[in-house]
């Protein structure tokens, strides 16, 4: 969480200085007065005010501001939707020309999601799972992976032999495992080292 300790002649001056340093408005912060100023006697033993000012924003607010700030600076006309579902914070970027934010195999989307996590990590609920989607890419990809998992399962049932899928990132592998979790005839596990780790679908023994 962003936080600064600042001294000033008065408490108000110290707070103003802290807000300037943090670059945020008054409504976003919590102020803790560490030292009350005292004038001392005849200007001796004068003590400055000392405050600790901490940015207090919810992760949902921060996430929206971060993504909106980026999208605006890229000159893209898009809306940012933030919602909670299944114990995770979902941030969706919706718009006409958002495709370039996905990138080759979702690389740009991954990068943006990673930066979003870092930019909001210090806020309240910073350890909550966070999922960024652009133009429904993740949802489509999830459906493709589920189809792939079901095709592999059918092949395993037909041939009785294990099927090795292409290497995938952890999230995609998880989608495959979940898709076949309740399948009566096959089981799944992963083999290999990142980034070549892949899922194996095998007949249930």
């Amino acid at each position: 969480m962003k936080s600064v300790e600042v001294k000033g002649r008065t408490v108000e001056e110290a707070i103003d200085e802290a807000l300037k340093l943090l670059g945020v408005p008054r409504e976003w912060v919590e102020v803790e007065v560490l030292d009350v100023p005292s004038r001392g006697i005849l200007g001796l033993a004068r003590k400055d005010a000392r405050v600790r000012v901490t940015v207090q924003r919810s992760r949902a607010d921060l996430a929206r501001e971060f993504i909106e700030g980026i999208v605006r600076r890229m000159g893209v006309d898009a809306a940012v939707e933030v919602r909670r579902a299944g114990g995770a914070l979902h941030v969706d970027v919706v718009g006409k020309d958002v495709g370039f934010l996905i990138g080759k195999r979702g690389q740009t989307l991954q990068a943006l999601e990673y930066l979003l996590k870092i930019a909001t990590a210090g806020s309240e609920g910073g350890d909550e799972q966070l999922v960024l989607d652009v133009g429904g890419y993740r949802r489509r990809r999830e459906r493709q992976l589920e189809d792939l998992a079901n095709r592999a399962a059918r092949q395993v049932m037909r041939t009785g032999k294990p099927v090795m899928l292409e290497p995938m990132d952890a999230r995609s592998r998880r989608t495959i495992h979940l898709a076949l979790q309740r399948h009566p005839g096959v089981s799944t596990h992963s083999e290999g080292e990142e980034p070549n780790r892949r899922v194996i679908v095998s007949p249930k023994t």
Partner: protein
């Protein structure tokens, strides 16, 4: 506009946004953005095994490509 983007991203990540400076250097083939941050924020903008700076580059390059440009981001000490 790209410079603005680089500055916004970096300021959102560091603890000390006031210590962030971004200079744009026009190269022959690409714009280079030279980023300076407060010493204590160096680790934050670079990240474990350079993961943060790599993500910044990916994003800035995507934004540059959209405008038919090339861009590079360098973190200076």
């Amino acid at each position: 506009m790209l410079r603005d983007l680089v500055e916004f991203i970096v300021k959102s990540i560091v603890d000390n946004p006031n210590g962030v400076q971004v200079k744009e250097v026009e190269g022959e083939r690409a714009c280079v953005f030279e980023v300076r941050v407060a010493t204590e924020d160096m680790g934050k903008v670079i990240g474990k095994q350079g993961r943060v700076v790599r993500a910044i580059r990916t994003l800035v390059q995507a934004a540059a490509a959209k405008e038919g440009k090339r861009a590079a981001v360098e973190i200076l000490e």
